[in-house]
Symmetry: C2
Subunit: 173 residues, 2 copies
DNA sequence: CGATATTTGATATGGTCCATAACAATTATC
DNA sequence: GATAATTGTTATGGACCATATCAAATATCG
């Protein structure tokens, strides 16, 4: 609560410093110096991730799919007959949180839970025909709009190198 | 709610498919195929970001600093005399959400808000001496543990290339 | 000048995502 | 056959993010 003596002193200096350069009303505020921040991997990684997700959402807006939902559909398509625990855990989703996600996808008739005949505790996941169709359309949108954008920005070789490095970090860090 | 006919049929096939390979009790569950997922930028970006943040937290655990708090301290140190709105907006933090963050940092005597003499609405932000000391120690920990780890994994040249590409995405995507 | 609009920090609030505990049904273990 | 473990589920709380709103201070403009 109380401000230290030294903080007060440096604060006075800081307040003074702004006095001299009182901006004329229409002046643009000077951009802040990012400094070491622009070299911080976590910082730039987070900001890039937000931008990529944002762009992804725009590209598949017509299908109303989030990145997480897209990843579920992709994984179920590639691994039919797996149960909720298996799909969720490979995506890093906790089982309790996966329930609502599946409720959503199932209510939109994109995938279905089926009680396994082997183990009647587990639900086997399958894409519906509509789910397959929507996923196919999503893939096309992602390739033509989302990935194409990235290729324009970085070039194909760099894009592949980027994904390889990120995979390495995700798996071995 | 109701499962489509086609979904039921493919479900039967899926359930049957698992019947043949009922695992012997001690068998390891086969890893799922990621398929196209491992080529999805958003997916690998998100997972890499989580790993990096996790590692960052471990490296500076002794200082109890999150990546977001670290970025605030860095930016305030580099840009003394700026107000809350300026610091928050360059970090992509909304002003309302920045209040609690500053309450935290201020209660730990790492930074201080000072009413500006120019504009008595705004609070000028300054690092306290303790804040400067903690930030200096944090920088050393990050450099020696966090970044060093990344250099070991990718090599210095690749690390720089990675950060450059991520910056490009963050700024131009 | 003075009325109105804008800005700043702050509060309240709701949404989404993430994590843990607990439970019933089912299956595995011994 | 008693006990333990697993599966899907619910409930719940925390962290983070976004919007509306407010009082105080300042800017704008008649």
């Amino acid at each position: 609560m109380t401000v230290s003596k030294t903080a007060e002193k440096s604060a006075e200096k800081a307040a003074e410093a702004t006095k001299g350069r009182k901006d004329p009303p229409e002046a643009l505020a000077e951009a802040l110096q990012l400094g070491e921040l622009s070299e911080q991997l976590g910082y730039v990684l987070k900001r890039a991730q937000l931008k990529v997700f944002e762009n992804f959402l725009r590209c598949v807006a017509s299908l109303q799919l989030t990145p997480a939902q897209f990843s579920v559909l992709l994984l179920v398509e590639k691994n039919p007959g797996r149960n909720q625990t298996e799909i969720a855990s490979t995506l890093g989703i906790l089982r309790p949180n996966f329930v609502a996600m599946l409720d959503n996808l199932e209510s939109r008739d994109l995938c279905a839970r089926i009680r396994s005949t082997n183990d009647r505790r587990s639900h086997i996941l399958v894409l519906t025909d509509k789910g397959k169709a929507v996923l196919a359309r999503a893939k096309k949108l992602v390739a033509s709009k989302h990935e194409a954008r990235l290729n324009d920005l970085l070039g194909t070789a760099n894009r592949e190198a980027l994904i390889a490095m990120l995979s390495k970090i995700a798996n071995e860090f």
